[in-house]
């Protein structure tokens, strides 16, 4: 099943399945070794049916301790691998996934509880309580309560990973290929009913690489989320709650998981966790795909990986290199104790292209994330030197 002409057959089968209606049993997952199938449903990974977005058999949902901020979108992630194949554990980097592995990430919003469903209003909330279909743990979304926006696929092919974006139709029945991206006008509505209009930007396939190529020399697309430290916590599966890494081992998707010393991120909004860990892990997931020693932002010498222990390189008392107006007239990336004097705070607060960080992937401000970083910088000791 690794020849491209099977893709045509698969599309035909998909059409037949649609014609046949929902009574028919789901098709097995179809891995396309080449090409860009026109519809998300061609893959049979996650499908909208019976009022739910549900993963197919063998498609395992997962989440991250601290996720990338994407304009308050919630994300439903899944992993699938061909029978008999597994990813190899790595303590820091991405796992070594087998050819044929497919990751999906569906971006969606809870609909506001009260507001009219006008096609634009989506909820500004971190609360996931209404996301999932009742009685199914966290393994299917409740389409009565959420709006699906896009599903991005990362497909491990012979020559490496490929990013394939799909955008959901307004009727929420299927998603269509959108390699050149899209822009969708939405209104974020907060608990008090305040609205913020913004364009939700679906990246094009080259922009996908803007984050997923973490080494500019290697130019290789890598998954960012499914790494040991981001996955090392419990998930509510249909079969019961279990540590995600252990679950991957159990279902045969992961080999080499050590018994001890598996790194573990803090959840950014877990107030029981140390402030320093929450802030550094938030910066790691939001910034380090570019701000690492081999990444696209290594031109700036700012290294925001959580494993970097050199405070100067994560910005403390460091002058900017190529910030332009992104400095906001501040002089240093991080001034200990002074969030308002720190360029980093200015840039993560702004939502103006050319100033804001990350440079793409958002058009609104992560208010709670900014508060976290402000509190962390306020807590940092020391002062910056002079000659």
């Amino acid at each position: 099943m690794k020849r491209s002409h099977f893709a045509g057959a698969a599309i035909a089968l998909g059409v037949l399945a649609l014609l046949g209606g929902c009574a028919q049993a789901p098709q097995p997952v179809h891995y396309f070794a080449t090409g860009y199938p026109a519809k998300l449903s061609d893959w049979h990974l996650v499908e909208a049916r019976g009022g739910k977005l549900a993963p197919n058999t063998g498609v395992v949902p997962y989440d991250l301790a601290t996720p990338l901020f994407s304009d308050y979108a919630h994300k439903f992630r899944t992993v699938w691998m061909p029978a008999g194949s597994a990813a190899k554990y790595d303590a820091y980097g991405p796992f070594d996934f087998p050819v044929g592995a497919v990751l999906t990430k569906t971006f969606f919003y809870p609909l506001p509880a009260k507001d009219p469903r006008d096609g634009k209003a989506v909820a500004r909330t971190w609360d996931t309580a209404r996301d999932f279909a009742p009685g199914t743990a966290h393994d299917a979304l409740d389409l009565a309560n959420v709006r699906l926006i896009e599903t991005r696929l990362l497909v491990r092919r012979e020559n490496g990973w490929e990013a394939i974006p799909y955008v959901w139709d307004a009727n929420q029945k299927d998603a269509h290929l959108a390699r050149t991206g899209d822009a969708i006008p939405l209104d974020l509505v907060d608990a008090a009913g305040q609205r913020e209009a913004f364009p939700y930007v679906v990246p094009n396939a080259n922009q996908c690489a803007g984050c997923h190529v973490t080494n500019v020399q290697a130019k290789r697309i890598d998954p960012l989320g499914p790494r040991a430290r981001h996955l090392n916590h419990d998930y509510a599966y249909a079969t019961g709650t279990q540590n995600q890494l252990e679950h991957w081992v159990k279902v045969g998707y992961l080999t080499g998981l050590p018994q001890t010393d598996v790194p573990r991120d803090a959840a950014w909004n877990d107030t029981a966790a140390p402030l320093d860990a929450r802030a550094r892990d938030w910066l790691d997931i939001n910034c380090s795909h570019c701000h690492n020693p081999a990444g696209p932002a290594n031109t700036t010498a700012l290294d925001l990986r959580s494993v970097n222990t050199d405070a100067r390189l994560w910005g403390v008392c460091k002058p900017p290199v190529a910030a332009g107006r992104g400095t906001g007239d501040r002089l240093l990336d991080i001034v200990p104790g002074k969030p308002d004097d720190s360029i980093l705070v200015y840039r993560i607060t702004s939502n103006e292209p050319g100033v804001m960080m990350p440079e793409m992937g958002r058009n609104t401000t992560d208010r709670e994330g900014v508060e976290l970083i402000r509190a962390w910088i306020a807590s940092l000791p020391g002062t910056c030197g002079s000659p």
């Binding site: 955008v167 139709d169 822009a183 080259n206 103006e352």
Partner: protein, 411 residues
Amino acid sequence: MRKWLIAGLGTLLAACGQGGKETPQGLSDADKAFQDQLQQQFLDAKPGTVIEIPAGVHNLDRVLTLRADGVTVRGAGSDKSVLSFKHEISGPEGMLVYANDFTIEKLAIEDSKGDGLKINDGTNITIRDVRVEWTRGPSLENGAYGIYPVKCKNVLVEDSASIGARDAGIYVGQSQDIIVRRNRAEKNVAGIEIENSVRADVYENNATGNTGGILVFNMPDLTLHGSHARVFKNKIIANNLGNFAAKGTAVASVPAGSGVIVMSNPNVEVFDNDIADNRTANVIISSYFITNFADKTPSAGYDPYPKSIYIHDNRFSGGGDAPDGLEWKALKVSMFGITGHFPDVIWDGYVDTKALVDGQYPAAQRICVKNADVEILNVDGPNKFVHPKVLKDEVHCELPPLAAVELPGKA
């Protein structure tokens, strides 16, 4: 086959537009169709692909990103084929390139929110007859860099122009083997800047109306330390624009009215230029310490002092008569009177005392001027301008000329 593919995808995109989505702002349907088709070409480019930009003004609302090696992007002329990013919502660059063997020519990039043309980590980069411009003129809203190859090897920037950048117009950073020639830089904070780069020839350019004309800078923290730059046969005239850079950036410390600035960069030869009417000074040689950085603790391995600087055979006229900033103004008046002017070359006076032998740098590390009657003003920066001094014979010396840069396959 390719046309069929694009047509097919177009149909699909149209199909998924049925949900009543609209472009949030700015672009007409024709612009949007052009952008989709152009984005598709950037996505599908392979070695040998030539992407043609037809004549006309094309409005785009997101960055054009290229990741394939061996691609040429070609317009009909930098005054004819215009990519306008006035309505940009996702970028922030105009064009962002991660590729080797890249050529871009005969087009303009206007009004991007961030940098105009950024090329990151590429080898064999040719930029020819490209204009990057912020059409509103100098403004706090403009992007930082116009033409911006960074971490590249074998870079040719020629017959191009940058206008209105809030940092540097033509900026080559952290790169090796560079030729920047016959370009025009106007109304930028820095006209042309070579930063943390090794082996650069900057010649036959016209830098006028910027805050600073041509800069050779070496900054701390970065992995590549700059050295070897030749700045020659340029016209560096009347760069007196008020500094509109954001504070905290390296160029925010550039005084309006600077012709050439060499900061902390060793092995720089400035010769055979026409340098005139730059009202702070025609040439400034400075250490990292004179800048306004809040933290002046240089990183490990970084030499903050300019060494082996050779200024010779330039044609100077005017300039130095109305320096920027109160301290400099006061210094000028007290030393040279209301109607007088600074010498053509100013040096901040910071000396690496650890490198001194018998009270001066070894011959090969000196700052030398061999330029008829030209004097250097040591402004005594370390003592806050208390004992400034005009130097002439002390700096009259010669250094061996630097080698010309050679790029493979370029004459």
